[in-house]
């Protein structure tokens, strides 16, 4: 098969799945709908594996497959081709999107088995995959933007999938509107780049970049990067636009795993990595990205301490981990950011699916205060969740350890990093260890606080198999990026596979990492701090259950603020949303009704009156019609001949 056909298959398989399920959206047969969707996703995965294998066979510097299908827009000398690019960066993304996506499709068959409209759900899921693939494969900003909007739409549809519940419908709306604010920034970024450089094609943009970095904030590159970053904060839930992601947990749990943990929310990181050639020329914006990322990582982790909904905890954890990725790209550590994106996709999808398994077993109960002791009843879910837990708190040799430490390492020593950023990062990591251990204690360990009417049971095989697969990936997924500092002690000295793979596709940067010894010390610091923090949480929630409440009381006002998520939602609603609504109501009641409506009604009355008048001229009288002809002829002759 040629590469063109492979890429077409990769992209179109989910679209075809969407059409099949979309046309039979009333069907109640969940197994059939799920199988169609899973097969479509599986075909995509197969195609992406084949594509990546071809990429591996190519020489290191020329790893690139492009496929041009047709010209999407042609206006004058401006044209946007519908063409797609598989290179080492997008290769990682398509593997993650289709691989994790397929597992989640399979898991959904079990999870949605009691839902009355499964075909609709799977149709949306496939549509999401299609749009996500457009986003990561497009070789210019406009194709990426189509996917960017498409995933936003699918996210909205799936968050509000149970739209009869007002609260869930509102959550979907909030996600959509917040994303749209970011998207406006993204569009402005595209406009700025096109205005300044006359192209939206990634490769051409890279080639038209100036030699030296821009100073200040107002140059075209800095401005464009700033706008694009606003887009990224919307899609990837960073300060200040992160508020939608926790609410997005109203959607079905597999959706949270796929869209709001593994794939869509990482689009912002991917976009910046894809545009690394541009972003490195705006050092101020890079610094801003790093600061925003670090702060998001820390503040979201702190909120995670206070949440009692299992999915909300995971949601804030996602926001926090995304913050790590942005910290990474902000300090120029593009490769580690992609690395963390990948490992995070594994362990966070695993934990979301695990939480789905728990929620399914608990009959839609999500409050962790009403759980506990589930490890006996759900051994597989528990075992896999433990792997995810170890991965996220950064215990070696699990996946999260390698990627997170690499980001922190670059933050500390890279010439775009800063020790203060590193400190914030470490604090966020310590916080992560605490609240994730708290989650484990309350859900799986300790005494059972389960309602006596509920009888939890282990999930069926089609739900546990994806869990096991993801657990394996979370355990060993990090081994493709073992840093040199550690590799020298391991027999065979495994190379940093991911680094070798992705570096040629990135902007060449000399980040000047420090010595191996320093790296080992920093690693030791972060691992031991995380370990202590985890032990402290374990001790607090299992051995001395009264301690957390006392601590909360002692912290008083501070705890209140964190538990209420810093009152950001209240601020947005009080200062922005409600005044806007009041303003538009005023515009409607006074300006629209009094002026605009009256003017348009006048015009339409005028035209309708004209219509009635003309009607009387067409009375059906033959002689009258003949007279019109003669009159017309006479007038025409007079006009032309004289």
């Amino acid at each position: 098969m040629t590469e063109q056909i492979l890429i077409a298959t990769l992209i179109l398989a989910p679209l075809i799945g969407f059409f099949i399920n979309g046309l039979r959206f009333r069907s109640p047969n969940g197994v059939l709908a799920g199988s169609i969707a899973s097969v479509a996703a599986g075909i995509s995965f197969l195609a992406s594996v084949l594509l990546v294998l071809r990429l591996v066979d190519m020489p290191k510097e020329a790893r690139q497959i492009t496929a041009h299908f047709f010209d999407w827009i042609r206006v004058g000398d401006f044209s946007v081709p519908a063409s797609f690019l598989v290179d080492p960066i997008s290769a990682i993304m398509i593997l993650v999107v289709t691989g994790v996506g397929t597992l989640i499709h399979i898991f959904s068959i079990g999870y949605m088995s009691h839902d009355p409209r499964p075909a609709k759900y799977f149709a949306y899921l496939n549509l999401f995959l299609f749009n996500m693939l457009l986003l990561v494969l497009g070789d210019n900003l406009l194709i990426m933007f189509v996917g960017w909007e498409g995933v936003g739409l699918c996210s909205y549809l799936l968050i509000g999938f149970w739209f009869t519940d007002r609260e869930k419908a509102a959550a979907g709306m909030k996600a959509f509107i917040t994303n749209r604010i970011g998207d406006a920034g993204f569009l402005l970024g595209i406009f700025t780049l096109f205005f300044a450089f006359g192209t939206v094609d990634f490769a051409e943009l890279a080639s038209r970049m100036p030699e030296v970095a821009e100073v200040g904030w107002t140059g075209p590159i800095a401005l464009a990067c700033l706008f694009l970053f606003i887009g990224a904060t919307g899609k990837s839930a960073q300060i200040p636009l992160y508020v939608w992601l926790p609410d997005a947990m109203a959607g079905p749990t597999p959706v949270s795993a796929l869209i709001h943990a593994a794939t869509m929310v990482t689009a912002g990181v991917y976009m910046i990595v894809r545009m690394s050639h541009v972003f490195v020329l705006a050092p101020n914006v890079m610094m801003l990205i790093a600061v925003v990322g670090a702060l998001t990582a820390l503040l979201a982790a702190l909120i995670g301490f206070t949440q009692n909904d299992i999915k909300k905890v995971l949601a804030y954890s996602t926001v926090s981990q995304l913050g790590f990725m942005f910290l990474g790209v902000g300090v120029g550590a593009f490769m580690p950011a992609m690395f963390h994106l990948m490992t995070h996709a594994f362990f966070k999808a695993l934990m979301f699916l695990g939480s789905g398994s728990v929620i399914h077993a608990m009959h839609e109960e999500q409050d962790i205060r009403k759980m506990g002791g589930l490890w006996k009843l759900m051994p597989i879910t528990h075992a896999t969740f433990v792997v995810g837990w170890l991965a996220i708190i950064g215990m070696p040799p699990f996946a999260g350890f390698f990627s997170k430490d690499e980001i922190l390492w670059y933050t500390m020593t890279g010439n775009m990093g800063h020790p203060i950023l590193w400190l914030i990062g470490i604090l966020a990591a310590v916080g992560t260890a605490f609240y994730m251990t708290r989650l484990m204690c309350l859900v799986f360990w300790g005494q059972s606080r389960v309602d006596s009417k509920v009888h939890p049971h282990e999930a069926p095989l089609n739900m546990t198999l994806p869990l096991i697969a993801l657990a394996v990936l979370s355990a060993i997924g990090g081994w493709i990026g073992i840093p040199h500092a550690l590799a020298q002690f391991i027999p065979g000295h495994p190379p940093h596979l991911l680094g070798d793979w992705i570096k040629p596709a990135l902007v060449p940067l000399s980040l000047d990492p420090g010595s191996d010894l320093l790296e080992l010390i920093l690693m030791g610091v972060s691992v031991s701090l995380a370990g202590i923090s985890a032990w402290f949480a374990y001790d607090s929630y299992l051995k001395n259950p009264s301690r957390p409440a006392e601590l909360a009381k002692r912290l008083g006002r501070g705890y209140e603020v964190v538990a209420n998520k810093y009152y950001v939602d209240e601020f947005y609603f009080g200062r922005i949303v409600n005044p806007l609504i009041a303003l538009s109501k005023g515009l409607w009641a006074y300006v629209d009704v009094n002026f605009i409506d009256k003017a348009t009604y006048f015009l339409s009355d005028l035209v309708a009156g004209g219509g009635r008048a003309l009607r009387s001229l067409h009375g059906g009288n033959l002689q009258q019609y003949a007279m019109y002809i003669v009159l017309g002829l006479v007038v025409a002759l007079i006009y032309v001949m004289i």
Binding site: A608, G611, L614, R615, H618, Y625, A626, Y628, I629, L633
Partner: protein, 480 residues
């Protein structure tokens, strides 16, 4: 004058011969079976077969690059074949509609097929003609068939009235047109359009006789394509005729008349500097047609009559393209001419679909479909409502339907010739048109069901044809 002709001549008129042979076949069968009308399906199939054979024969000479036949009487260029295929397609669809419409499915369906195919022959002659006299004969042949076709309707009152009106007024206009042709012949000394072109530009400035001839011809043609103020017949005739024939007239007949109109105007009569007044007059005709057509349509309560006025308004849009083509003149009529052809095709497809929908909604041969009747159709019959919505949006020129692209190309062609005011009026009248095109959609989806009509009986062929046109309207614009 020689009357000999060669093999080439026979080859290029073979579609006409095929159509004629197939047209007498149903009649022959009827005579052989003691003058009893059998299943109307058989004549329809023969008719469609004839159209297909004619199309296949026409396919053998798609691109003759302006070759002439029968001593220059007929010309074969790209429009000849493009609009030729359009005529055949319209004929086939009209046959299909007629088979399932109660007003046309009469005991004389064999005669109906005969007349319709002969009308198609006349239409092909019109678009192929390089000779004004031949064109006139084609128009008369087509018109004569139509008078009888309309009067054949099972419905007694309206159809007879409209056949009579059409006959009287059309003859009147034909007389004016023939008078004009005579003056042109008098000043040029020839009725061949290519010979007129060589003298047209210079005669415009010098000869009043020639100018008189041109104006009279234009008036006659303006009647045929229903330009205001020569349009008054259109609403009555379109409303009174059986719906399949209305569809046929509003698409095929209008298209061929426009081709002849374009051919006459492209004989270098508009390019001369002295022709400025004439160009202005033509622009006024186009503007009045667009405005009056659209505004008059607003006041209508009968769906068919509304579409009749809509069809008048569309003549105005086509006229914009024809003027643009005429201003370029001659063989290099490029953007304007191709815009006209595209518009004619697009307009024909969506109009066929819209009238097909009306045909589906008619309960009896004399039932009228009022716009109010559509209330709540969106719930009763979602597919039909969707089709109507598609056709209405297309006629209004909403992207991405075919109607949008048609308008777009015509407006572009006019802008290329600096006809900015014309384009302004075109846009304004499009905005007005939106009002009545959207009204059926609003009623179908947003009004409560009162008495309501629906598709009666099983009319599979018509439904299929309508669905096909809807698909074309929706997607062809994107693919072209």
């Amino acid at each position: 004058m020689d009357v000999n002709f060669g093999l080439f001549d026979l080859w290029v008129v073979s579609p006409l011969i095929a159509l004629f042979l197939f047209s007498i076949l149903p009649l022959t069968i009827k005579v052989l079976s003691q003058n009893k009308e059998g299943n109307p399906f058989i004549p329809m199939t023969i008719g469609v077969l004839g159209v297909v054979v004619a199309a296949a024969l026409m396919g053998t000479f798609r691109d003759l690059g302006g070759a002439v036949a029968f001593q220059q009487s007929l010309v074969f260029d790209s429009i000849s074949s493009q609009v030729g295929f359009l005529v055949l397609a319209v004929t086939a669809v009209a046959l299909i509609f007629s088979r399932e419409n109660l007003a046309t499915k009469t005991g004389q369906f064999s005669e109906f097929v005969f007349l319709l195919l002969n009308a198609a022959i006349g239409m092909l002659v019109v678009i192929w003609s390089n000779d004004l006299i031949i064109a006139f004969i084609g128009i008369e042949m087509m018109s004569l068939c139509l008078y009888v076709l309309i009067a054949l309707s099972r419905e007694e009152r309206l159809s007879k009235e409209s056949a009579f009106k059409y006959f009287v007024l059309s003859s009147f206009a034909s007389a004016i047109m023939l008078y004009g042709f005579a003056f042109i012949y008098g000043s040029v000394g020839s009725t061949y359009l290519n010979e007129i072109s060589t003298l047209g530009a210079s005669l415009m400035g010098t000869s009043y006789i020639f100018l008189l001839g041109v104006v009279l011809s234009i008036v006659g043609l303006a009647f045929k394509v229903a330009l205001v103020p020569f349009h008054a017949w259109a609403a009555d005739v379109y409303q009174g005729s059986p719906t399949p024939l209305t569809a046929f007239m509003a698409t095929g007949v209008k298209a061929v008349s426009f081709v002849l109109f374009a051919r006459v105007l492209m004989s270098e009569v508009l390019v001369a500097p002295s022709a400025e007044v004439l160009v202005n007059a033509l622009q006024w005709l186009a503007v009045m047609t667009m405005m009056v057509g659209n505004i008059a349509a607003i006041g209508q309560s009968d769906f068919k009559r509304m579409l009749a006025y809509s069809s008048v308004a569309h003549s105005g849009y086509v006229m914009m393209g024809v003027i643009a083509a005429g201003l370029v003149g001659g063989a290099g009529a490029g953007a304007g001419l191709s815009a006209v052809v595209f518009y004619l095709v697009a307009y024909s497809v969506m109009t066929l679909g819209a009238f097909g929908m009306i045909s589906l909604l008619e309960k009896r041969e004399d039932s009228q479909v009022y716009i109010e009747d559509l209330k709540g159709l969106g719930q009763r019959n979602p597919w039909m409502a969707l089709f109507i919505a598609v056709f209405m949006l297309a006629l209004a020129g909403i992207p991405p339907t075919l109607g949008f692209f048609g308008k777009f190309y015509v407006f572009m062609a006019a802008i290329e010739q600096q006809l900015y005011w014309l384009v302004f009026w075109g846009l304004l009248s499009s905005a007005i048109g939106l009002y009545y095109y959207l009204r059926p959609i609003v009623l179908m989806y947003m009004a409560e069901d009162v008495r309501g009509i629906d598709v009666v009986g099983s009319r599979h062929l018509t439904s299929f044809a309508v669905a096909m046109t809807a698909l074309i309207v929706l997607f062809a614009g994107l693919l072209l």
